[in-house]
Amino acid sequence: MLRLKNGRLYDPARGVDGLVQDLYVDAGRVVPAPGPEVRIDAELDLAGKVVMAGAIDLHTHIGGGKMNIARALLPEDHRGDRVPASDLGAGGFMHAGCGHAAPSTWTTGYRYAEMGYTACFEPAMLPANARHAHLEMGDIPMVDKGAYAMLGSDDFFLRLLAAGADPRLIADYVGWTLDASQAMAIKVVNPGGISAFKFNTRALALDEAHPYYGVTPRQVIGALARAVHDLGLAHPLHVHASNLGVPGNADTTLATMAAAEGLPIHLTHIQFHSYGTEGERRFSSEAERIADAINRQGNVSADVGQILFGQTVTASGDTMGQHRNHRHASPDKWVVMDIECDAGCGVVPFRYKDKNFVNALQWAIGLELFLRVTDPWRIFLTTDHPNGAPFTSYPHLIRLLMDRDFRNAKLDEIHPEAAAHSQLRGLTREYSLYEIAVMTRAAPARSLGLAERGHLGPGAAADIVVYRDDADREAMFGKPEYVFKDGELVVRDGRVVKVVNGALHAVKPEYDKGIERPLNDYFDRYMTVKMAHLKIADDEVCACGASKLVPHACTRHSS
């Protein structure tokens, strides 16, 4: 048994806000304080240190076909961040790879762990690409993983919706998809729009009919939100709304919230969806209106998708949006792919510049959203890695949220008109350690239904991070002193000391397997793959590389 003594705990799931308390770890779990008869094998004195659960990233593009396209596209970016192999002896072997915008799988795992992250969720897994995604994630070490299956532009679903299928049947199909692709949640990207792009439609408004199926994005959202709810998934429908990046899209974003009709809904990278058309340049911040709407509607959560300046690459299922954006590609090369009557993907390298008015205002809009949304349980810290910035910039982002002087100093550096347009300087809020622990630990765990993660209570998996309490929050969060994964010390002073593998989390909803009859027929008639071969068996998950499959049961509600 290990005793972590005298640490200052920030554990919002139990309301613990900076309490000095000992933690006990045994067999990979946090356990209650033992009696005097129990032998303590090891002890660390953490006096003055900050202790939190392992951080959880609920939206990061770490593995799957589009990330591999991004990697293959950008050899010049990798060259700037070569990662040599490193033999840790008894701690195992760290593979060589590459870092920066589209890091190799190995490097992704090591660097997440070195920042105190212990679980990461890939938000855009195409069912047709699921086995590949699991193979990639299987080579991401150190962290637990999970993925959200993308639906909403797949022809089978659109056919059901267009035919006015019973919501139960749609829920069965959604349940089957989660099960078949070993997914944790459902994401919809530009609802119906990826499909519409295949029919040569270049924009699809929320209430516009799909050119072939006649259904609207609003109907797609409504049907999927209902199915996700009825299946009893912990995580709400995860929505990448229509019109990403388009000036004036804030109206669409507000209407998208309404499309859930009161059911839980998560809006992802909401920064990219909070734009107005005011001002000479017809581009302005609608962060206040969007934040107010989130504050008002308890069924809505969001992650920010903060942008930070520098080179990155954007990778998205939104082919329609990425094709529109390709003229901004830097370097000038990009990929758009239609995929398997299922979805698509688009990869566009991008360089955000602080002296560019639009980029500077995007930066300010993201920060405004963080500061204006009052409930840290419903707003999550993301850069939509790598779309807004690589995940390695999180410590910098945390400092921007926690340190107003630092934020204002950065505000002085951006395009002056953007700074003048933004109300950011007037926002005095500074995030507390407790709030950071909410948005990076407790809240994502609760949102995903990870009962054993994101907290430090007895029974929790011993994913524990210990930080020096440094006034420079960037330095503090960039280099934890200790990181424990399932009770094992894996990082010391911001460096991996032991290589471990992570588990795969997947939901196991109840659904009527009768859905396989029409599905099988559909695949046999029209697809070049059999339905049976799209399915990933439970025992394949470990063959793909995960340490184990962690199933999460769901209780079906009847609608």
Partner: protein
Amino acid sequence: MSDTHYCCPFCGLVCDDLSVDLPGCPRAVQLSTAPALGVARSNGSEVDTAAAVAAAAAILRGARRPLVAGLACDVTGHRAALDLAERTGAVVDHMNGAGQFRNWLAFQDGGWMSTTLSEVRNRADVVVLAGTDATAFPRFFERCLAPESQFGELSRRVIVLGDSHSFPPERLAGTALAIPIAKERLGELCAALRARLAGRLVAAGTVAGMAPEQLDALLATLRAARYGVLAWNAAELDFPDADLAVRAMADLVTDLNRVGRWAVLPLGGSDGDTSAAQVCTWRTGYPLRVGFEAGGPHYEPLSHETGRLLAMGGVDALLWISALDPERRPPETDCPVIVLGRPDMTFERPPAVFIPVAVPGLHHAGFLHRMDGVVALPLSARTATGLPAVAQALAAIAKELSRAQA
């Protein structure tokens, strides 16, 4: 729904509808017959597998910079090959590297708009086969251009750009247009089509052997597509600077997408080459032709080529992996060669070490990507074998290496 169908690993289509009653194309049938056992050899003599493994490890231990090539196996084999390459400071390249890198060079220069097989099957009303008759993928027409589509009956127009004499007559009969053009001039043709598309005049006289009216007629057909697909097989574009021709084709498709919908479909993926590139990309950032050096992975798409490395003495040992097709033997070289090959592989000049390995998708289960890089399919074990899988043989060599180091 019980699955009685298995997936075929023997070309980039990875057909997944095979069964005992429907064993696939002749190529699949032929390659599905392989001995369940084989004989390991070291320096010409029969040895047991352990001795062959020890001999292979001795060669790798003595090498300054090995080349791990061939790479015709499944994902698990590719993972093991990269592990071993990393630990021995090797360079990795695939036996289909020449074709792969015609595509990768073009891709890394400008990207492209592409599609996958089920999209082709359901949407493509115009299909251009540029410099290929697709016979390297025996069931391409049957699997990807079947008439039934979920969006209603498709009357497909297939346009052949190339030597139509190589085209099976029964295919040509259903072809809308066959334009004889030398492959070397595909780039020129695409550039001219782009110019016409942009409304520019193309200099008088012929372009790639085509009269201006012919060019405009072709362009009109392309523009009329509801969903057009331009396919090529880079392995067949065997001429200098073929990557520029690929680039020109990709650029033409991008331009056609200004007003309509088009996509490229690079045919390929045979001998596990798509999986090899995918695994190497997620693990290192680069789609093969990577050398593992002290400072990290080093990518050289031109000079890390098997033939060049062997000819220039850039490597001093070759580990050749060829578990799918016994005809794919290692290239001639003077440096010591280790072959992990199908048990029915024969040699004129035997390698220093031969370790017979199981055939993925026949002898053992695994994963293999289709040519489009999106769909990874499960391979199954169809017959029993006593042979090790590539990954197992490589793990044994790695173990022997670390034992010798300790």
